[in-house]
């Protein structure tokens, strides 16, 4: 089994005059794992539902494996879908749930049985075939939902926030499980989530969406490190934003209060412009070792286990610094005067 390609061209969706998705263009290669990431109401689920055929686009074309399926009914597309609420059929056993799509396709009973057993092995629940959905935990139910979607050998797998209803620990487990199965079957997958960590961990590419618009499409590393818009920068990961004044755009010189800092990234604003300097919390250190040094005062220290999050008030704003936990780390306390520093290549300017 392997997936087909998926192409969306100029796809648009309106609900009673309100635009939910605007000019959505995307080409997904066979076997690729693409996430739609954004806050609720950004149009990611609507887009997924249009791909599934559960909503009809107001404009645009959707092609699955080269074939125009824009207005095909959901049961005429060869897709598998996993829902946030699992949506297992409560009246059927796990085996019957998994075999449902094959039964609808009138597949021979023995073949069906064989295929169901194969999938039960794939999701590592070989003994649960005769159980009913209510006898399984949430994580197990969602595995079954995944198997049910995969049973019909779909060209495309759609997952709509499949982990949102699960506990943190199960979520992590199932996340790697989904990725393992996706790689093993090499099936084209669209994954909808509002959880940036999930999207970063799973995806070959991420589509960040906001208010019905595509903000950025790229690989996780690129999205995180080179966010194209302010929205992407603030939605994906933690981000510091410090008001600065441009001194010399060509040399990357900026002023924070009375202190001068430098960035190696491009400044498009003219001299004297008031802009924002952006940097990730993990790029900031609590000493004067890096190129740009600021004086500040510790406001709060939050111990999160593997990292320690420290909030520092500096001239003109507040910065968050994430330090790795070490056994010998001397934790600062609120009220301490401190220096912070960050390299010039770690920060960039946004208007």
């Amino acid at each position: 089994m392997s997936g087909g390609s998926l192409t969306l061209e100029g796809v648009r969706k309106e609900f009673d005059g309100v635009v939910a998705v605007e000019d959505f263009n995307l080409s997904v290669s066979p076997g690729e794992f693409v996430s739609f990431l954004g806050p609720s109401g950004c149009g990611k689920t609507t887009t997924l539902r249009m791909v599934a055929g559960l909503e009809q686009p107001s404009a645009g074309t959707i092609r699955l494996a080269g074939e125009d399926v824009t207005f095909a009914k959901p049961n005429e597309r060869n897709i598998g879908m996993v829902f946030q609420s699992y949506a297992l059929f409560p009246n059927m056993t796990i085996s019957d749930n998994i075999g449902f799509g094959l039964r609808v396709r009138k597949q021979d009973k023995d073949d069906r049985k064989e295929r169901v057993a194969e999938l039960l092995d794939l999701i590592q629940l070989p003994d649960k075939g005769k159980s009913y959905p209510y006898e399984l935990s949430g994580g197990q139910q969602q595995r079954v939902a995944l198997a049910r979607a995969l049973a019909i050998s779909p060209q495309l797998l759609l997952l709509d926030e499949p982990l949102s209803a699960l506990d943190a620990k199960i979520r992590d487990e199932l996340r790697s499980e989904i990725r393992r199965i996706q790689r093993q079957l090499n099936i084209t997958t669209i994954y909808v989530t509002h959880d940036q960590e999930e999207a970063l961990a799973l995806s070959d590419r991420i589509v960040v969406m906001s208010k019905g618009q595509m903000e950025q499409v790229g690989e996780p590393f690129e999205i995180y490190n080179n966010p194209a818009t302010g929205f992407v920068a603030s939605f994906v990961g933690q981000l510091n934003r410090l008001p600065v004044t441009v001194i010399d755009p060509a040399l990357g010189r900026l002023r924070v209060g009375q202190v001068e800092v430098r960035t190696t990234s491009l400044i498009e604003s003219p001299k004297g412009a008031e802009v924002s300097l952006m940097m990730r919390p993990e790029e900031i250190t609590l000493d004067a070792e890096e190129e740009n040094v600021l004086e500040g005062r510790v406001e709060a220290v939050t111990f999160l286990g593997s990292i320690v999050r420290i909030q520092v008030a500096v001239d003109g704003g507040r910065l968050t610094a994430d330090l790795f936990n070490e056994r010998l780390l001397q934790l600062p306390v609120a009220g301490d005067a401190t220096q912070i520093s960050f390299p010039s290549h770690a920060c960039w300017v946004m208007v």
Binding site: G53, P74, N75, R77, G80, L88, F89, P90, V104, R148
Partner: protein, 278 residues
């Protein structure tokens, strides 16, 4: 009036059944309970006692024997049973797809649909039947010219009267499951509407369907006013007739009717009881 107090289909998952804490019951509560018990059971018991007195100076089932020997009893019973089943089928055929579609696609219409299904409560049966006769007992819509066609009209009226019960039962059943997700899951797996309804939705609201059907059965079984106006020889009119000519048989027949409806009620509680698995 037991009908109105009948259990609604249980939407509780088994684990939601909460054990009632052991409590002392207020003496007044006992008093009320006993009062209501007397109110319900004294007439029943007296009717039963009366029905046993057909033979002089002996208590026995003579009246029942005579009743069961009457061919008209059996024909009216059979007719009523057939009418009830036809009503149930018609009511299900109208209400299930309507409730399903309202739940799935037109949730905004629910209050309107609910109101329409409640109309039989607002309109007294006599008004309903006179209105219907006014429309259908004369050209151009003459549908009551033969006994058989009147019977069809009667079944249609009964179906309308069953709507409040049927809609509520089915609606409760549909609300207890995630209709939209289940439908969409089945759709993406390749199922058409018939498969979705037949294999996914209906089996999961089985209890609600049974409960609605049994309530409808109970209503049709005891209906008198409309049947009389439609000149139908069903159970209600037969019993009323019997009262005019016989002494003990009507009491026996009342007991039989109550027994049949009670059996239906017990069946409702049986099929809707909380179980290990739903």
């Amino acid at each position: 009036m037991t009908i109105l107090n009948a259990p609604t289909p249980s939407s509780l998952a088994p684990d939601e059944v909460i054990e009632a804490p052991v409590r002392r019951v207020h003496p007044l509560a006992w008093l009320i309970l006993i009062g209501i018990g007397l109110y319900f059971f004294v007439p029943l018991i007296l009717t039963f006692w009366w029905s046993l007195r057909a033979e002089k100076d002996v208590l026995g089932f003579e009246a029942y024997g005579r009743l069961f020997a009457d061919a008209n009893f059996w024909s009216s019973l059979a007719e009523t049973v057939v009418d009830s089943i036809a009503t149930i089928v018609l009511s299900l055929l109208i209400i299930v797809p309507t409730a399903f579609w309202v739940t799935l696609r037109l949730p905004k219409l629910r209050p309107a649909v609910e109101f329409v299904t409640l109309l039989p409560f607002v309109i007294p049966p006599v008004v309903l039947v006179l209105g219907i006769l006014r429309l259908y007992a004369r050209p151009p819509l003459l549908l009551t010219s033969t006994y058989g066609s009147s019977r069809l009209v009667l079944i249609c009226i009964y179906a309308a009267i069953s709507f409040p019960y049927m809609f509520r039962s089915v609606d409760t059943g549909l609300r207890a499951i995630d209709v939209r997700s289940l439908t969409e899951a089945a759709q993406t797996l390749g199922a058409g509407w018939a498969t979705i309804l037949g294999r996914v939705i209906l089996p999961n609201i089985r209890v609600a369907l049974l409960s609605g059907s049994l309530l409808t059965f109970a209503i049709v079984f005891g209906e008198y006013a409309i049947a009389v106006y439609m000149a139908q020889h069903t159970f209600g009119p037969f019993m009323a007739n019997l009262t005019r000519s016989k002494v003990y048989e009507p009491a026996a027949m009342a007991i039989v009717a109550v027994a049949i409806v009670w059996v239906a009620m017990v069946m409702i509680s049986y099929v809707t009881r909380p179980r290990d698995r739903r």
